[in-house]
Symmetry: C2
Subunit: 432 residues, 2 copies
């Protein structure tokens, strides 16, 4: 089947999956977990072939680690499925209800988005997680995983498809894309695909964003800042800066720029330099920074660079306002942190920084769906609409307006002696 056929099938399946009951979806998740365990030998064998080929191709060790899908990873995936079963169904919830007039009631009811296209890195656990999140939220999904994981992804998609078929989930709700051409085709199918979630390098995500009319949920850059205010506790500022920069450097929520209030730069910069150098971090400072500590000079480009590495740009700023201006000018709207003992200044920072996540006295590394308690994470969004920051299953649903009447017509509310609307909020779930 070509991409268009797969997408058409997915759209047809999505209509029926949207109406599937919670029990039906949970039974399918159970069946998927059972099948993953039952087929674990085959899955591990397929993964071994992916690992072997990738080792030959000299894939970097951290990538190899993500690629591995062994007994322990399968067990983890099954645990993930069990906890997803326990999460309340996000579909069919009455978000609000209003009596428009006698016998005319309006309900805003949550529903799936429809067909989601997800493009993800060479990480087989992501396939299980994403497809189960889509299933629970009633969405059909078109999946494109990294080339390195091709064999593992194929068997995982087969196992999930067969298990969900057995559980009575509409056929075609999941499809695996295999080639880059498939992805190019997918980007053009805006009549059938409702949302694209790209995960991967910023260049790749940017490419997706620039080449489709389909809404894209995600983020390209993650240029996160830590601002150390003049009222910061220096010890706390060191701990937060080091954690934000070093706890895991290759991720989007790691800090790339440190902003330091001029009033404490003289004392704080030498301390933070020592702490960062102990972790192997290279500092690129503004001219004022270079006047205080010995480091390379930052260029204009540094402020807009996501290093994803043991590098940190450092700038001394005149004021809280100047820190916020820097962040709004160079940041990517992902996660920005203020360290200060002054809650008023903290509030001002949060009110004025135009980012998905604004943190007060804690590390940027907390910006994550699991840490936020959202359960599994679909991705982190720097969009300004729909969903922002770490996105859990809530980001995969939208709502439908359902109006229940008894022969009501608009003509009665206009002309001579028109009826009036009542518009009274009611606490009542949609009658099902």
């Amino acid at each position: 089947m070509d991409m268009q056929q797969l997408a058409r099938r997915a759209k047809a399946a999505a209509i029926h999956l949207a109406a599937a009951g919670t029990d039906e979806k949970n039974l399918a998740l159970e069946e998927i977990a059972r099948s993953l365990e039952a087929r674990s030998a085959d899955i591990i064998a397929a993964n071994a072939r992916d690992m072997e080929r990738s080792e030959k191709e000299r894939l970097a060790p951290p990538m190899l680690k993500r690629l591995r899908f062994d007994e322990a990873k399968i067990a983890e995936a099954c645990q993930g499925l069990q906890s997803l079963i326990r999460i309340p169904d996000p579909v069919g919830r009455t978000l609000s209800a209003m009596e428009l007039d006698q016998g005319l009631e309006l309900y805003k009811v949550s529903c799936p988005i429809g067909v989601i296209g997800v493009i993800f890195e060479s990480r087989p656990d992501a396939l299980v997680q994403i497809s189960s999140l889509c299933l629970k939220s009633g969405n059909a999904v078109l999946l494109k995983g990294g080339r390195e994981a091709a064999e593992t992804n194929r068997i995982l998609a087969d196992v999930i498809t067969e298990a969900s078929d057995r559980a009575g989930i509409p056929k075609g709700w999941l499809a695996l894309l295999e080639t880059r051409e498939d992805v190019a085709d997918l980007l053009g199918l805006d009549a059938m695909i409702d949302l694209i979630v790209p995960r991967g390098s910023n260049a790749f995500v940017q490419h997706i964003m620039n080449n489709t009319n389909i809404p894209v949920l995600g983020h390209a850059d993650g240029i996160c800042h830590v601002f150390v205010d003049r009222h910061a506790d220096p010890d706390m500022a060191v701990r937060i800066t080091v954690d934000s920069k070093c706890q895991y450097v290759a991720v989007c929520n790691a800090a790339e720029t440190l902003l330091v209030h001029q009033d404490i730069a003289g004392t704080f910069l030498p301390i933070i330099q020592q702490a960062l150098e102990a972790k192997g971090v290279e500092i690129r400072g503004c001219e004022r920074t270079v006047g205080i500590i010995d480091c390379q000079t930052a260029t204009e480009e540094d402020w807009a660079t996501e290093y994803l590495d043991l590098k940190l740009s450092v700038r001394v700023v005149d004021s809280l306002e100047a820190a916020v201006d820097h962040i709004n000018a160079y940041g990517s709207g992902h996660t920005d942190v203020i360290v200060t003992a002054d809650t008023k200044r903290g509030s001002w920072f949060m009110d004025h920084v135009d980012s998905a996540d604004v943190f007060f006295n804690c590390s940027s590394r907390f910006s994550d769906g699991f840490r936020f308690g959202l359960g599994a994470e679909v991705g982190i969004s720097t969009n300004k609409i729909h969903a922002r920051g770490p996105v859990g299953m809530e980001g995969l649903v939208i709502y439908q307006w359902r109006l229940m009447g008894n022969g009501h017509v608009v003509a009665d509310y206009s002309g001579q002696a028109p009826r009036s609307f009542i518009h009274r909020k009611i606490e009542k779930p949609f009658p099902s």
Copy 2:
């Protein structure tokens, strides 16, 4: 100033407007209402020039009616401002809160989207309504109104700008675009504009959607259906069909296609034909319809046409499922109605029709922000994300995650003897 400068100014203003308090915004709305009244003579004179020119250009009478902005319209606009003042501020609401760990609290707080570009028809009241909705929801706005209303729009934008300046709202939060070139430029400014709301003809909206990377909120087609089920009360079905088609034909929520269950087609079609012909509606029927009543034969194109006129396509369908399939294939995801006495079949219809609004035993014409009790309407969206159906001020806000810590770092939650997260929902507004 060119478009880029206006947008940059708007973005800078948006940052500060996002942090403006409710009182500040309400005072500005008061001041705008006062100024509209104080300047009413000048506004009416400007509108008279627009009317005179448009009459000379032989603008159609319904368009002239929309263009008129007289004493009564000004009073109505001021009433609208007063009721907007009474609506609770949509910004700064705590949507959820969670204790992640001791002293580490996460808040999801509503905030403005940022800079909204709105392109609207030649209707001066829309300018006042849209700009006041943006102000109350803390968004900056770039407005482009219809050419016919140029002079009225200019004076209204001036009055609103001056009044909001006096009330201390950040300068540059509102700008009026004057030319088509401005609009073309606006579509390219995705770094500065966060959302475009186009109102107008479907060809125009489609053009906007196809020519920008900025998210677009709105709808192109409004191909709405009424399905008369075999269990429909015929009198009710007639009333609802006639209202849906005829109550106001030139609008997106008017019905364009009537679907009739085969079991009642023989008796219902002659009745509805009589009722529709009495209203001057021309029927285009499928072959089975033509076999029952005397009318033109519909072509494949008819099913996908938004007539916006006294025309209705009519199709006899085999079943509830066939009706839903027709709607999902030819509809535009706007508003679709079932008329039936069987609530189970009504629920099945609503569960399976993939449209923003699904109605049970009432007219499609209820699909409207005012009738829904949303207050003023930003537009009607057929998007699948962010906001669907009639969109009130809620569609102009999003949220920001605010994490309040006390030196918390992620390193403490990993490695040996890691801390665990608590992840306990708390009922507590963000501390401000």
